[in-house]
Every structure is written in structure tokens, then in C-alpha cells.
Amino acid sequence: MKKIKSRRKVREPRFCFKTLSEVDVLDDGYKWRKYGQKVVKNTQHPRSYYRCTQDNCRVKKRVERLAEDPRMVITTYEGRHAHSPSHDTEESQAASNAQLNSDFFW
């Protein structure tokens, strides 16, 4: 006869960010793919679920708005990335510099 033992499982710690923002999905330097959406009671704002697109990286996040104050976006991260953030800033900086140069009328 099997002994009935309760199994305890500790999930990766979560970080719940509260930010004043008009934009739902704030740029955090990582790339995400949406895998779900759920209707939340008492608010017209659904909750969206995202996964990090990097291989072997299992970080998830969810984005929703605070019911009591819809100006606030709640972003909850679970897990830690196994890689550095994808800094597109260098490329976009170079691109925008090129743009700037071509706009001048000499």
C-alpha cells in the first residue's frame, strides 16, 4: 500500500511590477511571444500571458491593468533569464544616426 505524502513544490520567485503607463507592454529589453489571454472579472482589461522567445529560456510574464486604477500596468515576471537581454539599442541608435544625417540639407 502506498504511503500518502504531500508533495511540496516551490515555484520560481515572482516579481510583480506596478508602473504608471499608457502602454500595456513595456520594453524590458527582452523578446516575448504571447501565448494566452484571459478575461478578468470586474474590468474591461484582459490579462495577457507571454513567454521569452530565447531558446532554453523559460521566463514568463503576464500583463494586466489594476482594476482600482487602470492607469497602472501590472507586469508579473516569473523566473530568471538564462541569457543577456537583446539590446537592440545599439542597432537602432546607429540606424537613427544614419537617418539623422540624411535629413540634413547641406
Binding site: R14, F15, P85
Partner: protein, 95 residues
Amino acid sequence: MSRGERGPMKVVIINTQYVETDATSFKSVVQKLTGKDSVVSDYSSDHPMKNIVSCPHHSRLGLGGAILERNWSIKEFDRLLKEMPPVDELSRLWD
């Protein structure tokens, strides 16, 4: 709860830390807490510096983060404060 044939009870523990930040600091704080080299998420929920971390513009998290990374207990921190010279001596040293 009667579980019958469904097997043993499964308990899932979720530790959540709450962070308030503005939109401009968002990126750096997220990377600090969930990035590859993050130290903060290693802490158990008994750590004295748990829960609410607030960083309006520049990281008060910077200070909190620095203390957290040194792995000080409250006891050690208290001892440091006790060993500090009295305030007027401090201001004399400052000049």
C-alpha cells in the same frame, strides 16, 4: 478535502516580491531582478529585506540592492550601526 483515489496533496509555494517603478526605470529594474546575473531572486522569503521595493527615479533599489548583495543579516547591520561613532564626532571627521 477528500481526495480518494486522486493521490497525495500537492502544495505549491509562490514567493512574490512587489516592485513599484516608473516607466523610464522599468527596463533597468526588470533586468536587475530577472536578468542572468540577478542575486535578489535567490533570497528566501525570510530575508529581512523582502517584499516592497520602491524605486521612484533612480533606484533606491541601488542602495537596497547593494545591501542585499552583501548578504548581511539584520544582526550584522545593527552591529555596524552600533559601532559607528557618535554623530558629532562624525561631523568633525567629515571636515
